[in-house]
């Protein structure tokens, strides 16, 4: 019989590689979109509306995954949509991570009034329904890429702050922190040199999960038609169109949905896989 730990590690490893592989592929597609997308994602052809994918009768050659109601190529729109999705994932994820982790560190390690204010803010934020909050923010900021990113940061910083605060508190109570203090290191120095490296694995895991969340938020905002201009290819926008024509052209919904599903699943599994790697008990 296999040793239980090595089995868990092997499964975690496979999970890690599969999800990293999909995200890597997606990144390549996004970077090379203008060269590899078979069609112009914005080009409309009203004579070629709602063409089915290639294996079905009546398919139009050259449109592998069919066309939407305006005759735009579904495959090309998915490939171009990957650019926006990944851009939002990376930029919004990173910005949320930096701000949330900083506030969490301050609250958890410095304690005092900083903790009081930040914790109270977290409580207030937790009382907002996040989807409604993001839609409200986009209404305030106006649609556009930067609005989406700002909305994600404003709403999701608490995800980092909550966890990092708790981690920083438990790290702060440990002996090594006290000895750093005895060795003459200041509070800020201790926070950055001693606490931060120890909570870094948690931050990386949260960052990966947040990237998946950012992709979903962008899709939801596009779905309610508040993301960027409705012509630009976004997965959420495609899904919204597919939802409304679901009985006439299922492929307009299915292919972007599969892409989005795999992407979100990959970010999440990557995060969980990294968590297992970092977890000293399993290692």
């Amino acid at each position: 019989m296999l040793d239980g730990r090595s089995m868990i590690r092997r499964r975690a490893g496979l999970r890690l590689w599969l999800s990293a592989g999909w995200l890597g592929l997606l990144l390549c597609l996004a970077l090379a979109a203008p060269w590899i997308a078979p069609k112009d994602p914005l080009a409309q052809d009203l004579f070629l509306g709602r063409m089915p994918p290639f294996w079905q009768a009546g398919a139009e050659p050259g449109y592998l995954l069919g066309t939407d109601s305006l005759g735009r190529d579904v495959l090309s729109r998915i490939i171009h949509g990957a650019r926006l999705a990944l851009l939002v994932a990376v930029v919004a994820g990173a910005a949320t991570c930096v701000i949330g982790a900083c506030l969490g560190l301050m609250a958890g390690f410095l304690r005092g009034w900083a903790d009081l204010v930040i914790s109270r803010m977290i409580d207030i934020w937790m009382a907002f329904p996040p989807v409604l909050f993001s839609i409200l923010l986009i209404a305030v900021l106006g649609p556009g890429l930067w609005s989406i990113i700002i909305a994600i940061v404003v709403i999701d910083w608490t995800r980092f702050a909550r966890v990092i605060r708790a981690e920083a508190m438990s790290q702060g109570a440990m002996d090594y922190v006290a000895s750093a203090h005895v060795a003459g290191r200041g509070r800020l120095g201790t926070m950055l040199r001693e606490i931060l490296p120890n909570v870094l694995p948690t931050i990386v895991v949260l960052l990966t999960l947040e990237m998946g969340i950012a992709v979903i938020v962008e899709a939801i905002l596009s779905f309610v038609n508040l993301s960027i201009s409705s012509d630009d290819p976004t997965w959420g926008g495609m899904i919204a169109e597919g939802r409304s024509s679901i009985h006439q052209a299922w492929w307009v919904l299915v292919f972007p949905l599969i892409t989005l599903f795999l992407t979100v699943l990959s970010f999440s599994q990557l995060g969980e896989g990294l968590k297992d790697r970092f977890d000293p008990v399993l290692r």
């Binding site: 109270r120 996040p130 839609i135 409200l136 209404a139 899709a219 939802r243 679901i246 299915v254």
Partner: protein, 336 residues
């Protein structure tokens, strides 16, 4: 005494939280570009008309004064008048609340059933392939949010095998004899099972979409604490008495393993309620969330405020209830 003190402390922080929500939502939506009042009037309206209407809705006063007026109204149960429908916000919002509550509660029940079944099966067959399969299913269910599950369900059971309705709350052509907006409960009470079946077939898919991630969380956590409980002495004792494994799990272990899961379910339930906003939109379900998105699109400021505050009240009330329930159920806190 302990419980009373916890209650008082939690009530104070709840009040602060709600005030914070009120302040943020009030000032954030006042930054929304576009004058909502100008949008109400026909194109030929004069400046004078706009100013009169502004005064009517109190929009000509300073922001702080507007906030004061609004807050004192809210405390007295007056949430203002909706700009688009010109009806009192409180009535509109309370009219939609039952739909959202029924959906959330149905989702919670489904999540507990699914998650509980997964945890019990996983514990019963621990160490086998069955447990591994349940773990993988839990992992996938947890990784993908309700929005995507909703779309997957629409495709599977709305289009591929059309057995459920994918939009609305009830078939519009039906004659509804209800006096309240709790359609699901009232149809059951009136023994109108035909209506009840129609309502359930509309609600089942959005509720399931909301339930799947929570079911996974319950499944994982309950299984973990069940497995820990299974190693305790009293469970071993029950086993030596000759009880079967299934009976030991159900009769002996479950009761003690459920407490940690319960607190988590409370917090997660608020996330589920938050998820109703987009799920209601996806399934064209006439609840609060769908109304909220329309209100944002129409720039209906009083209505947005009312809905956000109501959501915040629900969230904090659920958290408060869970904390109290935990204090009551946990003997260590009760006797401290």
């Amino acid at each position: 005494m302990q419980i009373l003190r916890i209650l008082l402390m939690r009530l104070t922080t709840t009040a602060i939280t709600l005030l914070g929500v009120a302040i943020i939502v009030f000032f954030v939506i006042r930054v929304v570009p576009g004058n909502p009042v100008a949008m109400m009037l026909p194109p030929g309206a004069t400046e004078d008309d706009i100013a009169r209407l502004n005064a009517l809705y109190g929009l000509d006063k300073s922001l702080v004064a507007q906030f004061g007026i609004w807050l004192s109204g809210v405390v007295q149960g007056d949430f203002g008048t909706s700009i688009t429908s010109r009806q009192p916000v409180l009535g509109l919002v309370l009219g939609r609340l039952p739909a959202t509550l029924e959906l959330s509660i149905m989702a919670l029940v489904i999540a507990c059933l699914l998650g509980g079944a997964a945890a019990l099966t996983g514990t019963r067959y621990r160490g086998t392939r069955t447990e591994a399969a349940i773990d993988v299913a839990d992992g996938v269910a947890l990784s993908v949010p309700d929005f995507l599950w909703g779309l997957v369900l629409i495709l599977l059971f709305g289009v591929l095998v059309p057995i459920f309705h994918i939009s609305g709350r009830v078939t519009p052509s039906l004659d509804l004899p209800f006096t309240t907006n709790f359609y699901l409960f009232e149809s059951l009470l009136r023994l109108r099972l035909d209506l009840w079946a129609d309502i359930v077939s509309h609600m089942f898919m959005p509720a399931l979409a909301l339930a799947i991630p929570l079911a996974a969380i319950i499944g994982q956590l309950l299984k973990q604490s069940l497995k820990e409980t299974m190693n305790l002495d009293y469970v071993t004792l029950a086993r030596t008495k000759g009880y079967g494994e299934t009976r030991v799990i159900l009769r002996e272990a479950l009761r003690n393993a459920a407490l940690p899961t319960l607190t988590l379910v409370g917090v997660q339930f608020t996330f589920l309620i938050g998820g109703t906003v987009i799920i209601e939109r996806l399934f064209s379900y006439e609840g609060l969330g769908n109304m909220a998105i329309d209100a944002v699109i129409n720039r209906d400021l009083p209505l947005i405020q009312g809905i956000v505050i109501l959501f915040a009240v629900i969230f904090t009330a659920v958290n408060l209830a869970v904390d109290l329930l935990y204090a009551v159920l946990n003997p260590r806190l009760r006797h401290a």
